[in-house]
């Protein structure tokens, strides 16, 4: 089976500063992999590097096809839905327009309609807020919108950058429950970056732990979770 995403010896730079020092990992179709680590470990940078939003060196293959060096929008068009840090809401547009923008690249009307209904089913609150300006949504609602926008692309891989950030625990649980459903029903692979390691390990099947731009350990999520030494030294709980 060809891996959905393969990253090999990936290095990333912000100006002169190197933020990733050769990261290698892969993700199976339909799998959920999580990247864990402290602040500044390079988790967000890894996601950004996959979408060519920072200067990178290294090989990235999506579904066996090399995508390194492609423009961000072209990578997205391959089927990579990136839910960015800060959610990337189009604040001056309505919720409806946000969703329409997200489906901009698609020409299959019926499919778009279907995905719309799917999104409404996952997040009924968005349907109630369709005409509302997206900037006025609550943080949780904006996160739901961000995930929905990525879904409207019809992706096969979603890159999720701290979906729990700044949200109340109840809402976080809700969002993670939906993410599990999305993974199961829409057969979307997920690469999840999280500060909240306990939560992420609950959802993911594989985990990689990053430290200062390097992968320091990896394994099955359940193994990582049950290994107290790792939890204590790297994940802080």
């Amino acid at each position: 089976m060809v891996a959905l995403l393969e990253v090999e010896d990936l290095k990333a730079f912000y100006g002169q500063t190197q933020a990733l020092h050769g990261v290698t990992f892969s993700l199976q179709p339909g799998g959920i992999t999580t990247l864990l680590g402290a602040n500044g470990a390079g988790k967000t940078t890894t996601l950004r590097a996959i979408c060519n939003m920072v200067r990178t060196v290294g090989a990235i293959r999506f579904d066996g096809r090399p995508i390194e060096g492609l423009a961000t929008e072209e990578i997205v068009r391959c089927g990579v839905g990136h839910v960015p840090e800060g959610r990337g809401t189009f604040t001056n547009m309505s919720v409806d327009e946000n969703l329409r923008v997200a489906a901009y690249t698609r020409s299959d009307k019926a499919g778009v309609e279907r995905d719309r209904e799917m999104v409404y089913e996952y997040f009924p609150i968005l349907k109630a807020r369709l005409a509302q300006q997206a900037g006025t949504l609550s943080g949780g609602e904006q996160q739901m919108l961000a995930i929905s926008r990525a879904l409207m692309l019809g992706p096969r891989l979603m890159l999720l950058d701290e979906p729990s950030f700044g949200l109340a625990p109840l809402i976080v649980q809700e969002i993670f429950r939906i993410m599990r459903r999305i993974n199961g029903e829409a057969k979307v692979g997920m690469l999840l970056v999280e500060q909240n390691a306990a939560l992420a390990l609950e959802l993911a099947d594989h985990a990689y732990v990053l430290e200062t731009g390097r992968i320091v350990m990896s394994g099955k999520a359940s193994d990582v979770k049950s290994n107290e030494a790792i939890r204590k030294s790297y994940l802080g709980y």
Partner: protein
């Protein structure tokens, strides 16, 4: 009273042109954060193209449609070829490039068509109608075309996927890329649209001010004033601002004349129109840079 109404009516007509230009300026500003100092000369150049096609026997509207399309292509080219490589250049470089473009279009028009003033036919039939004492057919036509243009643009940006994508690209380029939108092309399209709108503005104002290479210099200043009054980041506001400035300009001159007639003191008249525009520009810029209808936008750093 009658005179006052007349002044307001012709102010609205002038305002229509300012509104068109303001719209073109806003179009470029929202997508690239640049103020296009060459907008006036581009419009003038387009008006000449229309004139040329009319000379070759084309109907005004057909000529305008063709030129609007050609201008669109010119706009796209200017963005892609000239401005794109300078994307991260300092503001001064960008401003200088705009000045360079201004010089090029200005002198090309002079070189190709000469500097003598040319008559430009009005596309609107010269008929009498109720209220034609206040406002001429061409002036009504200018207002109607502007409003039609605004409605068309509004629908385009609100309802079509491409319009939405352009708005998304202007608002949040990074996020737009993550929706698979080719942001660079959207900016170029914004330029193209601006150039096309400018073509309409130039061709509508040419019958009023006559065709010559300098025709747009002062009109552009009013376009700036209109854009600023309405909020340089808000297309709807720009149009309203254009109309406000057009009326304001005439009213100030009217009041100046009235004052002179009644008291014999001259303060302000037609000769000070540009100074009025200057004062409007500086006042709005310093007191309310977001304009009457604009909201404060977060500055991109």
């Amino acid at each position: 009273m009658e005179q006052l109404l007349q002044q307001v009516a012709s102010g609205l007509a002038n305002g229509a042109i300012y509104a068109c230009l303001a719209l073109a300026l806003v179009m470029i500003f929202v997508s690239t954060d640049h103020i296009n100092f060459a907008q006036g000369e581009l419009s003038m150049f387009s008006a000449y193209l229309v004139w040329q096609l009319i000379q070759w026997g084309l109907n005004f509207w057909l000529a305008l449609a063709i030129v609007a399309f050609v201008s669109f292509l010119i706009g796209v080219m200017v963005e892609r070829v000239i401005l794109r490589p300078l994307h991260s250049a300092p503001v001064l470089s960008i401003v200088v490039v705009f000045i360079g473009l201004l010089a090029i279009f200005h002198s090309l028009a002079g070189a190709i068509w000469g500097h003598t003033i040319k008559d430009f036919p009005s596309p609107f039939p010269n008929i009498a109608f109720a209220g034609s004492g206040y406002i001429g057919p061409h002036q009504i036509g200018m207002i109607l075309v502007t409003i039609a243009l605004l409605v068309a643009l509004f629908s385009f940006f609100r309802f079509t996927p491409l319009g939405l994508a352009m708005r998304a690209a202007a608002q949040n380029p990074a996020s737009a890329r993550l929706a698979g939108i080719r942001v660079d092309w959207m900016l170029a399209l914004g330029w193209g649209l601006a150039a096309a709108i400018g073509a309409v503005a130039g061709s509508l104002v040419a019958p009023v001010v006559y065709l010559e290479p300098n025709m747009m210099a002062s009109i552009l200043l009013y376009g700036f004033a209109g854009a600023l009054v309405g909020g340089i980041a808000s297309p709807g506001g720009a149009v309203v601002g254009g109309f406000i400035v057009g009326v304001l300009e005439n009213l100030i001159a009217y009041l100046g004349n009235l004052l002179e007639k009644t008291t014999g003191v001259y303060i302000i008249g037609n000769g000070e129109k540009l100074t009025v525009a200057l004062i409007i520009v500086i006042t709005v810029l310093t007191l309310k840079p977001s304009g009457l209808f604009g909201h404060v936008t977060v500055k991109r750093v």
